[in-house]
Symmetry: C2
Subunit: 357 residues, 2 copies
Amino acid sequence: MEGKEDNSLSGVKEIARRANVSLGTVDRVINNRAGVAVKTRNRVNAIIEELNYQPNVLARRLALTSRGTLRLAVLLPDISEETEYWKAPLEGINKADLEIRQYGVQVEHYFFDQNVQSGFAQQVNRIMENTPDGVLITPTFEKESIVLMKFCKKKKIPCVLMNSDIPDQQRLCYIGPELFDSGYLSGQLVHYCLKDGQKAMIVNIAREIESNVAILRKEDGFLAYFREKLSEDQLVHLNMTDTGYAAVAGRLTALLEEHKQIGIIYVTNSRVSLVAQWLESIGRSDIVLIGYDYLDKNLDYLKRGVIDFLLCEKPQEQGYRGVMSLFQYLVFSTTVQDDYLIPIDIVTSANYRYYRN
Amino acid sequence: MEGKEDNSLSGVKEIARRANVSLGTVDRVINNRAGVAVKTRNRVNAIIEELNYQPNVLARRLALTSRGTLRLAVLLPDISEETEYWKAPLEGINKADLEIRQYGVQVEHYFFDQNVQSGFAQQVNRIMENTPDGVLITPTFEKESIVLMKFCKKKKIPCVLMNSDIPDQQRLCYIGPELFDSGYLSGQLVHYCLKDGQKAMIVNIAREIESNVAILRKEDGFLAYFREKLSEDQLVHLNMTDTGYAAVAGRLTALLEEHKQIGIIYVTNSRVSLVAQWLESIGRSDIVLIGYDYLDKNLDYLKRGVIDFLLCEKPQEQGYRGVMSLFQYLVFSTTVQDDYLIPIDIVTSANYRYYRN
DNA sequence: CTGAAAGCGCTTACAG
DNA sequence: CTGAAAGCGCTTACAG
């Protein structure tokens, strides 16, 4: 047992007293600022070590309040009829915004239309003009995203990716699901539900399937499972670039006619509601339906038993964590930030209540 | 647009200036402390409203640092060979502890042996003697828990329940799963996996099944699903109060002999590993096995395909949130705290990686 | 290279 | 009932 001194002093003051220097010098050492004699620096550092000193983040942040605000730029798709999904990440971002506002952080939104690549490019330019202190993006268009990421790298602005990843570029971290495993998991669910003699169908519904990294990765994972544990003979493929209901319903009807043994359908994104609508209209809710995302429309079908499984990747949390990791990095200069792979939740009519937000 | 004045002042200072009172008075009003003339109080409150003033929690907490520490008592089962599970909530509690320590909060642990009711009572007494500022408990033994809860109520100490609930007592909130739905969800999974002509088995393994609220609730939910969508004829029951492997294996072997059609087994707690061990020993990993908890032992079986589904209820998060909700309540005097029903995660060999802690 | 002073926004004795 | 002063632990000009 070491005799603990009556430490009326603590923190920087105690360090200053022991090292026989002023608070200013202690501060310079702690924050690695220039202008301290090596000898002094060493002495102070030794005491810091000895005391196992941990700065009080409250006090630090309070003292910094007077200094300028930190500006975080957030780039993500706007919310449209077609992309209700993006409401969720935005909610998470706003939640984080509210929490850290009082720490002198300010979040600036940049929205783009997912179908307009030039609009994305334009927003990237605006961000670069405004040179924020941190950047959070959904890298929907790879080329322009890389432009921004390179800019950030040069300017030493931390850049966080969300929802889907572009590896091998200098980014602070990626926050989102491991999409391959998401598909693989779907394969597994299909396997559990497949009755004897049945077939499964995989359905991609999107304007640009070939350039949609997310869909391709999920499909890869799904097929990997089939090759491993089942057989591709048991699988029917469908790609729909016409995303209208009539078109989808038409093709599905034809395919079901052709492959009467289809017992399970896996839709690789949130458009699963189109398939649900169709299944319901033909009175075939016995077919197991698996799809994506905790959207009101999808939940309706889930509750009614038309959709059986929804895979969900915590969109709010992605937004929240995206902002918070920038905040942590910039304010508390936390060390290396790790990628955060979001869990892939399996949601059914029996547990969906507990996944609200 | 209102002309915004050059507010060099803000916060309490600005309020004091406008109301023509001192900081002390403003503080009294903000914190509802006595000793302010009604007229003054009203004037100050009006300005607070007008300014839409929000106190800076950083500054508040920093100022309070000098005051005494807040002491939180945490009561939960200790970690033994038999109850590795409780490591997880403890981790969450420790994580919260680390985060809020610098805000002058101190967590005190009280452990008990789940098999010794008198030990639980003893710890309850110790807590009451120490009169902490907040209490977080796992109410394993109902009677003693109620004693503690009543004590808290009288002393106005906030009390949070974790893991299982005792409703209708004055508690700040409950943090844990809705156990009925957990069983119901299991019924649903069984339904999806059940092939034609197969039967399912439900297995309870615990010393005291009849007094184990958690197990009973899950079983209720499970049976409810069967009554609703399947038939009880398709179900075989097994209660094991002898929790040793030999006994379990013996009974299971006999039952499987009797009911050869059993294709799925649902174990209502983390002892699913005993059944997994048996299934593996008799080479029947084709039987679908569903159980509970993200424990190393269970994960091993999950990865090897012996266990198919693990239902998990975020034990770390329960501990973390339990502490944090007390903290929020005591430090920021957040208003009514709501119960937080933890999601029931469905974990398989394809998504378990993302549920680590 | 170093120190003394002022300040971040709030709270608390203490004195009247 | 009210105010002036000191302090929470850290940071930042400014002066030397």
